[in-house]
């Protein structure tokens, strides 16, 4: 009895337990509501089905959220990712639309390289503002968030640029090994970031900078450079996400591309257990967070509720997940539990498991 109790406690205490549980509950509720929800079928060598759709549509969000995780783990925040998505998509589509042969792979690669280059420069701009000039991250990136939308519209001249390029379209809708290509791109990015942060010292350095930038600098870490780096990585992730978003619809809209994706990304990161205060980050949690958000959106669409009203559900889920993970809320909850029959050993358990 006592053993199962403690096992239950370690399980619920795991940082991924609650996000995963929420995801599981949502999938289960969907399956009950619509029995065909989890079915996947093979058509023309490609897999189709709602779960595949969720994975494919969440790919841009996962990318943006990965970069955001690193930024947030240094105690910063990057509000400009949505605008960066719009800018990168706009540049790529603009370049392709001007070329005579839109289907040429060379043209698409050049377009991607150009857009990525510009995004890196803009990421470096964010990095300089935060790391060198020392502006608060939220306001430093707000500048590019506001001005970036304008820049994207300036690039597309206020029009929606439509392109007809197969290779570019493949980024969003292409298939490889029966699965959508977008999933592989997101997976590759996740593995790359994970390898660089968890297999080298970089991750720990980022966390130490997030914990205390000054102390890490005194300990010999170039805090400024690390902070600069995470904003550039975030911009690169946002640029690739921007390619996917525009490739999905084969057009670039400076106004609507990546609108509010920064908020979704921040939510994904927070739902995944990374604290906005910085100092720790959980890439797997972020990915689950992004999947939760996309599942929620898909669910709401499937239930025939308007996209805007789906925000209501999002608000409820966000608050619920954040409350479950909040140390203060848990403390209150466990205190109430302590007054009830179970022995006192329970009381300090949740404290250790709370992400710092």
């Amino acid at each position: 009895m006592n053993d199962t109790m403690s096992r239950y406690r370690t399980m619920t205490g795991h940082r991924l337990f609650w996000p995963a549980a929420v995801l599981f509950v949502m999938l289960a509720a969907n399956t009950i509501y619509r029995p065909g929800f989890l079915s996947i079928e093979l058509k023309d060598g490609h897999l189709y089905g709602t779960p595949i759709d969720i994975l494919r549509l969440s790919a841009p969000l996962i990318l943006v959220a990965l970069g955001m995780t690193l930024v947030i783990s240094t105690g910063g925040i990057d509000l400009s990712v949505g605008s960066l998505c719009a800018i990168s998509g706009a540049i790529a589509c603009m370049y392709i639309s001007k070329q005579p042969d839109q289907n040429s792979v060379g043209v698409v690669v050049t377009a991607l390289a150009m857009a990525l280059g510009v995004s890196l420069v803009l990421g470096a701009w964010n990095g300089v503002l935060v790391a060198v000039i020392g502006i608060q991250p939220i306001i430093a990136t707000l500048i590019l968030m506001v001005a970036g939308r304008g820049l994207a519209q300036l690039i597309t001249e206020g029009q929606i640029i439509t392109i007809n390029s197969e290779p570019y379209r493949a980024i969003g809708l292409g298939h490889a090994l029966t699965l959508p290509l977008a999933i592989f791109i997101a997976l590759a990015a996740a593995l790359l970031v994970a390898a660089f942060t968890r297999r080298t010292a970089l991750g720990m350095i980022i966390e130490s900078v997030g914990g205390n930038a000054m102390a890490s600098r005194l300990a010999g870490i170039r805090s400024g450079r690390v902070i600069f780096l995470v904003y550039v990585i975030s911009a690169a992730c946002a640029a690739v996400a921007g390619f996917m978003m525009t490739a999905n619809v084969s057009s670039a809209d400076g106004n609507a591309a990546g609108l509010w994706v920064e908020l979704d990304a921040i939510l994904a990161v927070v739902i995944g257990g990374t604290s906005l205060a910085g100092g720790r980050f959980f890439l797997s949690g972020t990915i689950i967070g992004a999947l939760i958000i996309q599942t929620l959106t898909t669910t709401v669409y499937a239930m025939d509720i308007s996209p805007q009203t789906s925000l209501l559900f999002k608000a409820v889920v966000v608050i619920a997940v954040c409350l479950i993970q909040a140390p203060a809320f848990r403390a209150r909850f466990s205190r109430r539990r302590r007054n009830a029959p179970p022995p006192a050993t329970i009381a300090d358990k949740p404290k250790e498991q709370v992400p710092a």
Binding site: I135, V146, L151, Q153
Partner: protein
């Protein structure tokens, strides 16, 4: 600052350091107005200034509420959605034939209630304001479309008379009642911040919450109060917006929170909290308004230039604040 008071001769011509960002904004505003007047003859008409107030009255009220929140070092992302929700609720209730007075009371209660709830979550559960108010933003925006997917026109007599009433002089220059309401809100807010206990607490918490707590100031109560105030200001802003547009639209005010934050920052309020004035916020809103007017007057510039210019201005002001900060630290 103390060295300045000791050497008596130098103090006379020295700009007070705390007011420098505000004065810079004022100078910028005058320069922009000057450019407008020199370029376009119609710009010197007093009505142009009045129109800036008429078009941005609701923004002004919302920005005043945001100033309180930012002064404590917090942030409120929900304002734009709360404005839309208030306008939406009033439009829907009026459509159902509810008396105008009752609608006003209900509409004015929703914003503060949501603000109070968010403040409580922020304070008691120690979740970052950014996330809590983000959830509030989603909630309020979702409520808008939940009420109605399409925009609801307002035909109520009180609303239309408030919307069309012109207070002006015989030359034909006028302001709307909304502008007067906005002014009243600004004056009350400025008084509250400068001369009441609540105002001093707001500055103290923004300066250093730890010290404020150790000094025995009611940190929790004040923190909850500022989010409630911001909610109230958003609600008033929503009412003013419904006077202005005579309708409730579910997608109105999207991204307004960014304009508001930009206005507050341009007005010289520091995002880390503890320094700033309501007067600065008024100037910040005016700067945004004059930029829009200039772009409208020009005609050849597209609306996206507004965004780029606002972004550039934000950068310039933050850099200025930062430089002043470095120089005096």
């Amino acid at each position: 600052m103390t060295t300045g008071t000791l050497t008596a001769g130098r103090t006379r011509f020295r700009l007070p350091r705390k007011q420098i960002p505000v004065l810079a904004t004022l100078a910028l505003l005058l320069v922009m107005y000057g450019i407008g007047v020199s370029q376009y003859t119609a710009f010197s008409n007093v009505q142009v200034i009045f129109n800036v107030f008429i078009d941005n009255g609701f923004l002004l009220v919302v920005a005043v509420g945001m100033t309180f929140v930012i002064l404590t070092g917090g942030i409120d992302l929900s304002v734009g959605s709360v404005v839309a929700m208030t306008a939406m609720v009033s439009a829907a209730l009026l459509q159902d034939g509810m008396p105008a007075a009752l609608v006003l009371v209900i509409a004015l209660l929703i914003g503060p209630t949501l603000g109070l709830l968010m403040g409580c979550v922020i304070h008691f559960f120690e979740i970052q304001p950014f996330i809590v108010t983000l959830a509030g933003m989603f909630f309020a925006r979702g409520m808008c479309t939940f009420i109605s997917g399409a925009s609801i026109p307002i035909t109520d007599g009180f609303w239309t008379s408030m919307s069309q009433e012109r207070i002006g002089n015989p030359q034909g220059n006028f302001v709307s009642i909304s502008v007067l309401i906005a002014f009243v809100v600004v004056v009350i807010a400025a008084y509250t911040l400068a001369y009441t206990r609540l105002g001093r607490n707001v500055y103290a918490i923004g300066g250093n919450p730890q010290s404020a707590l150790l000094m025995g100031l009611p940190v929790g109560r004040t923190r909850i109060a500022v989010y409630t105030i911001s909610g109230l200001c958003s609600a008033i802003g929503g009412i003013l917006l419904s006077f202005y547009t005579l309708s409730g639209a579910p997608l109105i005010g999207v991204g307004m929170e960014l304009d508001v934050i930009a206005a507050v920052v341009i007005g010289g309020t520091v995002l880390t909290g503890g320094a700033g004035y309501v007067f600065g916020t008024v100037l910040g809103v005016l700067v945004l308004g004059v930029i829009q007017t200039l772009i409208t007057f020009d005609g050849s510039l597209n609306s996206w230039w507004t965004k780029i210019v606002i972004g550039g201005l934000l950068f310039a002001f933050i850099l200025l604040q930062r430089l002043i900060g470095i120089r005096y630290k």
